[in-house]
Amino acid sequence: MSDAVRPADVVAWLRAFAGAVAREREHLTELDAAIGDADHGINMERGMRAVAARLDEPAAAPGGSAAGEVVPRGVADAAAAPAGVGALLKTVGMTLVSTVGGAAGPLYGTLFLEMGKAAGGASGCAAGDEDADADSRAATAQWASLLEAGVAGVRARGKAEPGDKTMLDALVPAAEALRAAAEAGLAPGVALRRAADAAERGMRATVPLIARKGRASYLGERSVGHQDPGATSSWLLLEAAAETLAAEAPSTESPVTHEAAAEPPPAGQREAEP
């Protein structure tokens, strides 16, 4: 397939998420202190710092990781992509698995690994330079497919459902919103904004819930009244995506232009290129 989702976008998104997690470290840890073991912020920051470091490596290409396959580059990214999106996401997943430590490690790890698998295996629409709109729509559709695959993985791994006061309370509505936006033909920036907003609503909705999974479930009723830290970091993940992609199409909900899509990535991201 061609990557409608561009590696450079993924890289920018991950950097933004790493920044957000670092900024919100204390907040996440405070939330976790209320109903968990007060390490979510620390763990996530450690994991995303490791991810950012991987992105900074000269050979950011994840070719040597568990995700061995090299994905053909999209036309738009022919010159810029460090590697295929699938391989990139799998590297992120493996890095989180090995560095987060808490339950968030295997869960976020699974999220990215499953996204990576979906990116590697999904049939995307081959798009030509001449059809920027189609390109944009394909990108949104692929974002939606990736997130759906990832969320399904998290759901299976954690054996949790929405309403259990977990990451899924943010991720599931986000994936649904993203799918709806894709079907509406919206550009990725706009679609991800909707997803992020859905995640935020889901996150806030965790406050009155009784935790049914993880350490917080030990508290039973006492978990009521606290926002779930996992749902919060998941919202940060979506928010980072929305902000990253919105930066490419700042003004409008209309389909992105060919020029915008073809813009080279910011200088900071070029450092990561081979």
């Binding site: 390490d39 620390i42 763990n43 450690r46 568990a66 493996m94 698995v97 090995s98 560095t99 987060v100 430590g101 808490g102 339950a103 968030a104 490690g105 295997p106 869960l107 790890g109 699974t110 690994l113 791994r157 954690g158 993880g214 350490r215």
Partner: protein
């Protein structure tokens, strides 16, 4: 064999759990661990990639069982499956079994080569024993889950659930084996694992039941099942086996039981550290016949005899019926004096049979009796608190002992035991005047092995080696006072055997091996034979030595070495002569002074010395003048209290400081010398001037006696004890005034290495085989040799078979040892070839440490 993987948040926990499991499994089981995050991260956590790697590391086509702790460990283990190669996933099983118990149970079962499913079932059932122990309602309530668990795992040869009904037991082909479990905690996990491993090694179906309880039989293949039997210390198990190797399996189980199921202190391999003795909790059931109790070797030799418990009657603190304070206080003082007398005679007895160094243990006890820290509070309580003597004393002792016990230094803490022991003795005298200082070891007329919790020095000194053939102590280490004294008395001894020993009834035959450190209870005929043979061999060697004891000790190349005796009392002189001594190399005259309440006058001394002379017939006698000091005070001789008595006024210094005392002794020796071959020796000489002054006193005494018309010999050989490095280094300078040298190697080592031999913390430093000490001996011997003078060694090293070739190689011409050592020392001399001994001595002088010297000497 399947592999095991443990997944934990903590690397340490994973490692420790794996180590625990590996202890149980026997050889060959691969246990992989995935704990914590990869370095450089140090946080708790789990890492699915690491789990996958661990699985790959222990990979076996038989499968891999993964156990994990909680939370992310479960998620990471599941994720790890996704990361594995496709073909491996189906042979990896994640189990909800409890991490530690499950790992242990799984390791045992896996070690037997059982299938992945069987091992997993065993792991899942691993809480059964704990439930049986802890769940309210007792052992029975958890049985269903245990049964279920084992039923899950039972496969292949075993079959059947935990509560295997008797009729389903396969046909029994070997008579059942009944064993009593002596392990203090019963058949707990580790002994049970040993049982499972042992039973499974044979082609037989083995079951275990707790005799008389209706529990079991269960498969001996399942750790859970065996543990669930809840076998406690002292209970019996019944082991049955069927199949081609049923008999072998039962024999192996019996052997295992003989070793206490491999539990240190009960039997089995020696404890990892020989320095500390295991002290397992009490087990009241008597050990079964054939049980091998294992402790620490304390004194070599083999003994077979009936057990006889040395009973310590704890003296109940009295209820006060206080008379007037003066009477009470007088009673206490009398008791203190009585105990001091008892301790002195015990010390002298030990000094005679063993050596002055060992006897010095008692000196500390004597000091307690005069300690203001005890006497002041006791006096206060009697006179101001109107307490009775016994109560006042008991309180003072208890308080002081607590103070000792609160100290950080383990040696000092150990003194609390000495204090309590002395305190008991005094209390005994107060409450039962005339009572013996320590209970004699039973009737003391028949041969026996003394069984005791620990041996106080007083008890040890009361042992008669003729009837007390061995000593076995439940507590104590090889450096405890009781052990040192047993060794000194030549009584085979094992210490730190554990409390199971105390359950042995009197009269049961024990075979004690003081070299292996074992005590076999009611030994089977074969063990009895072996022990008897060893004993016979030792006795034969001893007899051979004794048979030749009266013959001169001549080296292989023809040099005769006089082997003399160290003697502290007239009775010992007789023993020395009987043992084949060529003379007395050291007559300690302290016996006359230290035990007396007044200064013995000249006539008393002459009488005592003549008694010794008569006891040894015509053998030459080396008389040493009084060797006292602040460390060995004389009640009638006021001595300044010294901070450091070993460096103070002692030895010849004391004699010169009290010239009338020394002069009296010199006159007595001169009178003795008129009718007997005598040499005179001065103790602890440091400078030539001291010797010159002492000789002037001697000449004055001779003139006195002559003037009074008393017969004195024309010539009396005069020598010095070389105990101070200065004297050894300047031996030549003493030659014009000294006819012979006698090396007191105990003190010489103590002064050379600046290590007090009575202080356990440094005593090991004062090794006379240290090359520095040997160089001082060499310097002394060289000076003496060039002048053709005799040089003797009268320290303990003279009786050490591995030191003898070195001493002779250095040029020592005489040895003086405890009477009991004479036959063997003579044998050792006969084995020496001087050229080889000189080479050995030269190498020893060039060595860098005592350890190196001992290695050279083959010790």
């Amino acid at each position: 064999m399947i592999g095991l993987v443990l997944v934990c948040h903590s690397a340490k926990l994973a490692e420790a759990a794996a180590e625990l499991a590996a202890l149980m499994s026997g050889e060959g089981l691969h246990i992989g661990i995935a704990g914590g995050l990869e370095p450089p991260e140090t946080a708790f956590g789990t890492d699915a990639a690491r789990v996958a790697r661990a699985i790959d590391e222990v990979w076996s086509e038989d499968g891999v069982l993964v156990l994990m702790d909680l939370g992310s460990a479960v998620l990471s283990a599941e994720l790890a499956l996704d990361l594995l190669a496709e073909g491996r996933r189906s042979r990896v099983l994640l189990t909800e079994a409890p991490l530690v118990e499950g790992a242990v149970a799984a390791a045992v079962r896996a070690g037997l080569g059982d299938s992945l499913e069987e091992v997993a079932a065993e792991a899942r059932g691993a809480l059964a024993a704990k439930s049986a122990q802890l769940v309210p309602g007792g052992e029975g309530s958890a049985a269903p889950s245990a049964a279920q668990a084992v039923a899950h795992g039972a496969g292949g040869a075993v079959g059947g659930p935990l509560g295997l009904a008797p009729e389903t037991v396969p046909p029994v082909e070997a008579p059942p084996l009944r064993l009593t479990v002596h392990n203090p905690a019963g058949l707990h996990a580790r002994p049970a694992a040993a049982l499972v491993r042992t039973a499974a090694a044979w082609d037989a179906v083995v079951t275990v039941a707790r005799a008389g309880s209706g529990r079991g039989p269960v498969s001996a293949r399942s750790l859970n099942a065996v543990a669930t039997l809840g076998v406690r210390c002292g209970q019996e198990i019944e082991v049955r086996a069927s199949g081609p190797q049923a008999a072998e399996a039962l024999a192996a189980v019996r052997r295992l039981a003989d070793t206490g199921f491999e539990e240190p202190g009960v039997g089995g391999p020696p404890p990892p550290s020989a320095a500390t003795a295991p002290a397992p909790a009490a087990c009241e059931a008597p050990p079964a016949a054939g049980t091998v109790l294992r402790g620490l070797p304390a004194s070599p030799g083999v003994a077979v005899a009936a057990a006889r418990r040395l009973v310590c009657r704890p003296t109940a603190p009295p209820t006060d019926a206080a008379r007037d304070p003066a009477t009470e206080w007088e009673a206490l003082e009398r008791a203190l004096a009585d105990v001091a007398g008892d301790i002195r005679s015990a010390r002298d007895a030990v000094a005679g049979r063993a050596g002055a160094y060992d006897a010095a243990i008692f000196d500390a006890h004597l000091l307690f009796l005069a300690d203001a820290a005890l006497l002041d509070p006791a006096r206060e309580a009697v006179f101001r608190g109107q307490r009775g003597a016994a109560g006042a004393w008991a309180d003072a002792v208890a308080q002081a002992a607590r103070a000792w016990e609160s100290l950080a230094d383990p040696y000092l803490r150990g003194r609390a035991a000495d204090l309590r022991s002395v305190g008991e003795q005094v209390l005994g005298h107060l409450l039962e005047p005339g009572r013996r200082p320590s209970p004699p070891a039973g009737g003391a007329d028949a041969e026996h092995i003394v069984v005791a919790e620990d041996l106080t020095p007083a008890q040890a000194s009361s042992l008669d080696p003729a009837t007390a053939l061995g000593v076995a102590c439940a507590l104590g280490g090889p450096t405890s006072h009781g052990a040192i004294l047993a060794r000194a008395l030549g009584i085979p001894s094992v210490v730190g055997v554990g409390r199971a020993l105390l359950a042995v009834p009197d009269g049961v035959t024990l075979a004690l091996d003081g070299e292996a450190g074992t005590v076999t209870v009611d030994p089977p005929p074969a063990a009895l034979r072996a022990a008897a043979e060893r004993r016979v061999r030792r006795v034969r060697e001893h007899e051979e030595a004794r048979g030749r004891a009266r013959l001169p000790a001549v080296t292989g190349d023809g040099l005769t070495i006089p082997v003399l005796a160290n003697v502290a009392r007239p009775a010992e002189a007789r023993a020395a002569a009987a043992a084949g001594a060529d003379g007395v190399g050291l007559l300690r005259t302290e016996f006359l002074f230290l035990g007396a309440d007044h200064l013995p006058d000249e006539d008393e001394q002459v009488a005592a010395y003549r008694a010794v002379a008569a006891a040894v017939g015509g053998l030459p006698l080396t008389v040493r003048t009084l060797d006292a000091g602040a460390d060995k005070p004389l009640p009638y001789l006021p001595l300044e209290r010294e901070d450091n008595p070993f460096l103070g006024v002692r030895g010849l210094r004391l004699g010169l400081a009290h010239p009338s005392l020394l002069a009296g002794q010199l006159r007595a020796v001169l009178r003795l010398a008129a009718g007997h071959p005598v040499r005179l020796m001065f103790p602890m000489v440091s400078t030539v001037d001291e010797l010159v002054r002492a000789r002037e006193l001697l000449e004055a005494a001779r003139d006195d006696l002559r003037g009074a018309g008393v017969a004195v010999p024309e010539r009396l050989e005069v020598g010095i004890m070389v105990e101070v490095p200065a004297a050894a280094l300047l031996a030549e300078a003493f030659l014009p005034h000294a006819d012979f040298f006698s090396l007191g190697t105990n003190d010489l080592a103590q002064y050379t290495l600046a290590a007090e031999r009575g202080n356990a913390a440094v005593a090991a430093l004062a090794d006379p085989l240290h090359p520095a000490v040997l160089r001082l001996i060499a310097a002394t011997a060289r000076a003496a040799g060039e002048a053709g003078r005799a040089v003797s060694v009268c320290g303990e090293m003279a009786g050490d078979p591995c030191a003898i070739p070195i001493l002779l190689g250095l040029g020592v011409t005489e040895l003086s040892v405890a009477a009991a050592r004479i036959p063997e020392v003579k044998q050792a001399v006969r084995a020496v070839e001087l050229p080889a001994a000189r080479r050995l001595a030269a190498e020893a002088l060039a060595a860098g440490s005592a350890v190196e010297v001992r290695r050279l000497a083959g010790a």
